[in-house]
Symmetry: C2
Subunit: 202 residues, 2 copies
Amino acid sequence: MPNFVTMNEERYARIIGNISRCTAMPYEQQQKFLAALEVKQVPKKTQLLRAGEVCDFEAYVNKGCIRSYFLDEHGHEVTLQFATEDWWVSDVVSMAEGKPSRIFIEALEDSELLCIHRDKKEDLYRDVPGLERVFRMMLQRNLGALQDRLFATMAWPAEERYEAFLKRFPQLPNRVPQHMIASYLGITAEFLSKLRARRVAK
Amino acid sequence: MPNFVTMNEERYARIIGNISRCTAMPYEQQQKFLAALEVKQVPKKTQLLRAGEVCDFEAYVNKGCIRSYFLDEHGHEVTLQFATEDWWVSDVVSMAEGKPSRIFIEALEDSELLCIHRDKKEDLYRDVPGLERVFRMMLQRNLGALQDRLFATMAWPAEERYEAFLKRFPQLPNRVPQHMIASYLGITAEFLSKLRARRVAK
DNA sequence: AACGTTCATTGAACTAGGACAAGAACCTCA
DNA sequence: TGAGGTTCTTGTCCTAGTTCAATGAACGTT
């Protein structure tokens, strides 16, 4: 399978690898795709999206760590996703349908993103026919992961969810604060702390 | 927008309406799509998919009611979806990647389904270019709904989840047993019964 | 060096929801 | 008609996880 990259090799190598797993793409289509991306350097704590706004981007994380989360009526955070290198982050529904989003997206570290903007997305689908398939497959994987998570949330006790989280994302606890992991697991920061104490005791 | 249907009008009218919301489709493509569908009549209690099997269909519900669910380690059911008229049901990940499924799919009523089979799906994507878009949009909506549900499950108490369920699917309680609704809400059948008693008291 | 801020831990009191058991009200099918 | 499976309810006891403090550690910032 051919895998040409130009336009600053090291910056685009990762994302080309990422989309090539879905479909082979001729050179000039690849270039059109890369040309549509905006490289964005964002410092830690940047808010990329706030609830109520329409999401106007899909961002591929080249470097750094991004988090998306909801806010419940008591102001408590529910973390939806941690996106590190090679992940995509966005509110796809808001982006696709132009509806106001319910989620927040923020940088947990200084990050480098490759962004597709809302107003270029339809043109891209037209000019790069393979892209429709790429995004369909991304959505499929996403859906599967979310289904597994819903199932775990409903059927497993907190401790097993935490074990599974550590196994699947062993490096994340070094990069993100613990109370955010708690909010990803659907428990309070205090209770996660107690869980951990119990684990060490055993 | 043209909206031609042949091949037995009343049977295919609904599904054409369903996919036409995503993309306009020339007549001969529409016919290719309809020709690929298998009409399937299934009696109540038919198991369409069991965990461990690879899902080989995507089914559009023309009439009836289908349920998909997981089984946890204690043998308790967790309902993922109720699909009534005009909904799609499948395990898209298993279907797309050929992996064994973790979900069960069964008919709750005598139902009429329009099925796309796994071995015809790739051909369809090639012969009916608009279809990639249709399924991408279906996945998007699906993902949005699942996100909302995960959020509700994590952030709302059972009673509010039940209220929201009744508001969104007012007709379902007449069609499906209550303990399945409980397993959709992530609570026990007993507790749902107590919730209802409490509601009536007020 | 000193400051506010964010983070993690621990404990005590509390509650939403589960497990179990028993009975009542049903369908359904012979 | 009756028998046996579902389905729904109600009560009692129990536990996983929350809430609300209070305390310290770690950190950025000036």
